[in-house]
């Protein structure tokens, strides 16, 4: 054994730790694999490191996952594309392991390498690997093979191409549902590389097999293939081959399959063109919107806007809108909630008249929904309607809904609406923000739940940012400061918190004239918790106000607090004093 030169020592340790007992160290070494490779040089990486990795592949999954990822970008370290094939054996073994995420990563890395490999190398090394995996004894190998065809196929000579297509066909009929699922998932990618004549014959027959699979889990992946294949085929072929399948699927026995169709249907509309869309897909979609199973309606309702965007407004009003009306009174709150989250997007599609006439009543009924989620979803997307129908019409119905949510007995609902208030403020403008809403904002500062008070303090700050200090001086600051006299110390603390947030927004003048006196006053509070919070707030005010104010007002107050009987008050006061000292030193 050669003596290791000093500077090499860390690398040597890194290499040794490839086999350390501690998994963290092994992981660390694997993540630095490129460094090890560069230290060893290209040739020894090829001849020693890679074979070493191939042999030591029974490690923990975390290490294997990291290895699969590193190897994907390893081409430069083995000497470039002409040597890329040496990376295949370790990845091949990783394609067979039991853990799905390791296999997926290995397949991803193989694809990445395969995409760079020279054509003759693909034929000589990559395709044999693919064939080995596809004929693998364990289903894990066959599962992985499905994801590699689209890389191998374009470079294969004609005879091999035929073989690969046959192989894929076999995978589509594998005994194991896992393999068939993988074949279904990857069919679209593979199909994209297959020549048009074979596409119509071979691929479509595979697709046909998958669409008739016994296992729901396979069929529903075939649904995803519909959209992918639909985009590859000529419109007339799509209408002939895919359309009947999707119409069938939309009436499948299994709700999970129909659920997938509901999610994917809009993607197919473009592939088949407007006429079949009108004659076949719209009725299919309407059926899904009225499905017996709530889950299917949820999926369908969530796609209403995307679907309508493809149709013209006339079709949408005629066919879809009646369903939307029904859904807005659906028995399942989740359906209504899904509808509420997208229905706003329909406004621009339908235009002003239809929106006011047809859509607005639906909004309003959803805004009055008994479930807060539904109302929240509407409120979060208000800007889209605002653009179409204008603020006046909106505010009449909106305000009561907001007030109701603001007083909801679930604090999470109150929290959600508080978080929307600044957004609403920016969308609807200052005019909308009348006293009613202002009062609400103040009311939240006195909520029973800490999270609400905390959010309310933040809300006050964000409103001040949105509308500027002048507006805040009129509508926020006096009301907030009033509350410092609340008998309960927790509420006084909230106000102190709000003050510390407001000060940077309001600027030094207002801070000195309005906010600071309140804080100084609070330092006389009888509750120590208030006092040390005063110390903290004062510390945060120091950078905002002038040095003279610090000297004249803040420091004396802190000095007094630093002699308080309570230990915590003294601690925070001292801290604040120290930070003010530092501030002075910096500025001097």
């Amino acid at each position: 054994m050669a003596m290791i030169d000093e500077p090499l020592y860390p690398i040597a340790v890194l290499i040794d730790e490839l086999k350390n007992e501690d998994i963290q160290l092994r992981l660390n070494s694997i993540r630095k694999l490129s460094t090890i490779a560069r230290a060893l040089g290209e040739e020894r990486t090829r001849k020693e490191l890679i074979p070493f990795l191939s042999e030591n592949n029974d490690d923990d999954d975390e290490v294997l996952l990291a290895m699969a990822e590193e190897l994907g970008v390893f081409i430069p370290y083995v000497g470039g594309v002409e040597h890329a094939n040496v990376l295949l054996p370790p990845l091949e073994t990783l394609c067979i392991v039991e853990e799905t995420c390791v296999r997926d990563k290995a397949v991803e890395s193989l694809c990445r390498i395969g995409a760079q490999m020279r054509e003759q190398d693909l034929v000589e090394f990559f395709i044999p690997l693919l064939k080995r995996l596809a004929a693998g004894e364990w289903f894990t190998a066959r599962v992985s093979s499905c994801g590699l065809f689209h890389i191998a196929y374009p470079s294969a000579p004609e005879a091999l191409k035929t073989e690969l297509r046959t192989l894929y066909g076999q995978l589509c009929q594998d005994d194991m549902p896992m393999v068939r699922r993988s074949a279904a998932t990857n069919l679209g990618k593979f199909a994209a590389t297959v020549e048009a004549p074979h596409l119509k014959v071979d691929i479509m027959s595979m697709f046909d097999d998958l669409t008739h699979d016994d296992q729901d889990s396979v069929r529903l992946l075939a649904v995803e293939g519909c959209a992918a294949l639909g985009k590859l085929l000529e419109p007339q072929d799509c209408v002939a081959h895919i359309l009947p399948v999707i119409v069938n699927f939309s009436q499948d026995k299994s709700w999970r399959v129909r659920y997938m169709v509901a999610n994917q249907l809009y993607e197919l509309c473009e592939a088949v063109g407007p006429e079949p869309t009108r004659s076949d897909l719209v009725p299919a979609y309407v059926r899904l919107l009225r499905d017996n199973e709530a889950e299917v309606r949820i999926a369908a309702a969530g796609k209403v806007t995307k679907f309508c965007r493809i149709l013209n407004s006339e079709l949408a009003i005629q066919n879809i809108l009646p369903c939307v009306k029904e859904l807005s009174t659906d028995s399942s709150q989740h359906v209504r909630s899904a509808l509420a989250s997208v229905i706003m997007g329909m406004a621009p599609i339908l235009g002003k008249d239809a929106t006011i006439e047809q859509l607005l009543p639906i909004f309003l009924s959803l805004l009055k929904d008994e479930f807060p989620d539904v109302r929240l979803n509407i409120i979060s997307k208000l800007d889209q309607v605002n653009q179409v129908i204008g603020i006046d019409l909106l505010s009449q119905s909106l305000l009561p809904a907001i007030v109701e949510l603001a007083e909801d007995r679930h604090w999470r609902v109150r929290l959600a609406i508080i978080e929307y208030i600044p957004l609403l403020a920016s969308q609807l403008g200052v005019g909308f923000f009348d006293d009613k809403l202002g009062a609400l904002c103040m009311q939240w500062l006195k909520d029973k739940v800490y999270s609400i008070r905390d959010a309310a303090a933040n809300n006050v700050k964000r409103l001040a940012e949105e509308f500027g200090p002048d507006w805040a001086m009129q509508h926020i600051v006096p009301q907030v400061l009033d509350m410092i006299n609340n008998p309960h110390y927790l509420y006084r603390m909230t106000i102190l918190h709000a003050v510390s947030l407001l000060a940077p927004v309001m600027g030094k003048d207002i801070t000195c004239s309005k906010l600071l006196p309140v804080v100084i006053n609070a330092s006389k509070d009888r509750v120590p918790n208030i006092k040390f919070n005063v110390a903290k707030v004062l510390q945060s005010l120091i950078p905002i106000v002038d040095q003279s104010v610090v000297e004249k007002t803040i420091r004396p107050c802190l000095v007094e607090l630093s002699e308080d009987p309570d230990v915590d008050v003294r601690y925070f006061a001292t801290q604040a004093l120290q930070s003010s000292d530092q501030q002075m030193m910096m500025s001097s």
């Binding site: 020592y9 040794d16 699922r181």
Partner: protein, 512 residues
């Protein structure tokens, strides 16, 4: 392997009764040895190939056994088939490994102790010679991977700290196993060499003095790793878990709910059956057992404490509160007693391998149902009819709530279930079969039958049944029936006539 099946193929009628012989026992008790509570076996399950058997016990341990003759076959299965090798040997198992699956826990929110006892074990799809199984206690399901791992020995270390004498700083940092800090910061600040930064350049040929560690030793040992924990989904005690034929999902059932899980996802499950009424006082029945259909991924059956079996179709809707089919035996008029409802409760259901039949066990009987016939069972087997007069005693000592499991043979021709005094019974369920055998979980399984004056002869079955009942009654009088030694758990090998059954902490195997 085909011993019994060949006779089935003969047109002569029902298969011959099997002649059961003792094969093996694991954890046999010596006379007078006290049974430790934690050693009592509480779950048993063969894997799909029958090459492995798993048991779980009250101490939260899972013990795996492997078939010894299967290993030899595995080497040259093809050769064996070609040479028409007469398989005279019966399947034998040996201890493979064990691991602690569950630990006792305490639910602080509900002030409840959670026992570590394994309620159910189910094998999952094997991949790459690694074994996978699910084990459940009352609340939590765990997904285990059991795999042979090479024991690594590193025979050559390059960065041997002793060789780096003088580099105190470096050597100590590698000695103290804290290389992360010095990897991040370079070796030491005064030398300021950031060797591991990505910007440094190595000579194009690499550094010849570096070499890779050499790993030797091909010894292997079995390692069980818990891959996933599916928890916090059950308010009540889990009574069943069952894998779906799609290979990616499974269900877990407690008293009131059935949840559907994806094997890969442990943080969410979908509730597919919910019997919980808005007001718990309206509760009339609970779920006692649930199982997926062996081939149809969308079908699942569950049994209830009222003695009904419901078949549900997952395709119909997301929440399957309405069943597709209900299997219930109409109550015989006039037979109603205080115990009727209690003994009607089904303790276990199993699908036959082909998925056409469901076997159910209630307190007194085994029933076989055809899923195409919901008017009543196609066959009913009395397990221990002689206990009927004693129901009152059994109620007093709570034995009436014992949950006996049941099993079917791989060929679907026979069924088996346990009883008291460590007895279990095998019934022929092929049309026309009158096979009934009683065995005792001991080294001499036919002891009880030897004692009985008339061994059952096929032609006189109806008589022998009566005779046997009497003989057992006599036996009960003589030996006093022992309600504490009950045979609750048993499993039939998926391809061979081999039954593994549990008597307290002992695992007995019988073959025919």
């Amino acid at each position: 392997m085909k011993g019994g099946d060949e006779e089935v193929a003969a047109p002569a009628g029902p298969p011959q009764p099997l002649d059961w012989k003792f094969s093996q026992v694991f954890g046999e008790r010596t006379a007078g040895e006290e049974i430790q509570e934690v050693d009592i076996i509480s779950a048993i399950e063969f894997d799909k190939t029958g090459d492995h058997l798993a048991t779980g016990d009250r101490g939260g341990r899972v013990v795996l056994f492997e078939r010894t003759d299967a290993k030899d076959r595995g080497l040259s299965r093809r050769d064996l088939e070609r040479t028409d090798y007469p398989i005279s040997r019966h399947p034998e198992f040996r201890y493979k490994t064990e691991f602690q699956s569950h630990e006792p826990e305490f639910d602080y929110l509900k002030s409840l102790e959670i026992e570590e006892k394994i309620n159910k074990i189910r094998w999952c799809q094997t991949a790459n010679s690694a074994l996978f199984l699910l084990s459940a206690n009352d609340k939590t399901i765990k997904f285990w991977k059991v795999q042979e791992k090479k024991i690594k020995k590193i025979s050559k270390i390059i960065a041997d700290p002793s060789k780096a004498v003088g580099n105190g700083n470096v050597a100590s940092s590698s000695n103290s196993n804290s290389p992360k800090s010095f990897l991040a910061n370079g070796v030491s600040p005064d030398r300021s060499c950031n060797h591991l930064g990505n910007d440094i350049s190595f000579p194009p040929g690499g550094l010849p003095s570096l070499c890779l560690p050499v790993v030797t030793s091909q010894e292997t040992n079995l390692v069980a790793r818990c891959r996933r924990v599916y928890g916090h989904a059950h308010d009540y005690h889990i009574n069943s878990i069952s894998n779906n034929s799609d290979g990616e999902t499974f269900i877990s059932a407690d008293d009131l709910r059935i949840n559907l899980w994806n094997l890969e996802i442990s943080n969410q499950s979908f509730n597919i059956v919910d019997l919980k009424p808005a007001n718990m006082e309206d509760l009339t029945e609970v779920i006692t057992s649930a199982e997926f259909h062996p081939a149809h991924c969308n079908m699942l059956a569950y049994s209830s404490s009222k003695g009904s079996i419901r078949l549900i179709d997952l395709r119909q809707s997301a929440l399957c509160d309405s069943h597709a089919k209900l299997f219930e035996e109409p109550e015989a008029p006039g037979s109603r007693s205080f115990f009727t409802e209690i003994i009607a409760s089904i303790s276990d259901i199993k699908f036959a391998k082909d998925g056409r039949y469901i076997l159910s066990r209630d307190y007194m009987t085994l029933k076989l149902w055809d899923i195409n016939m919901d008017s009543g069972p196609v066959a009913t087997f009395q397990v221990h009819e002689y206990l009927r007069p004693k129901l009152c005693d059994l109620y007093e000592n709570d034995s009436i709530f014992d949950k006996f499991e049941c099993c079917l043979s791989g060929d679907g021709l026979r069924v088996a279930t346990g009883s008291y005094s460590n007895l279990f019974r095998v019934f022929g369920c092929a049309p026309g079969s009158t096979e009934t055998t009683t065995l005792e979980a001991s080294k001499n399984p036919m002891r009880t039958q030897v004692q009985s004056p008339s061994r059952p002869s096929r032609s006189l079955n109806s008589i022998t049944r009566v005779v046997r009942r009497e003989t057992l009654g006599v036996d009960a009088n003589g030996n006093s029936l022992d309600f504490t030694t009950k045979l609750l758990h048993l499993a039939w090998h998926p391809t061979e006539n081999l039954i593994a059954c549990v008597a307290a902490n002992s695992l007995y195997m019988y073959y025919a």
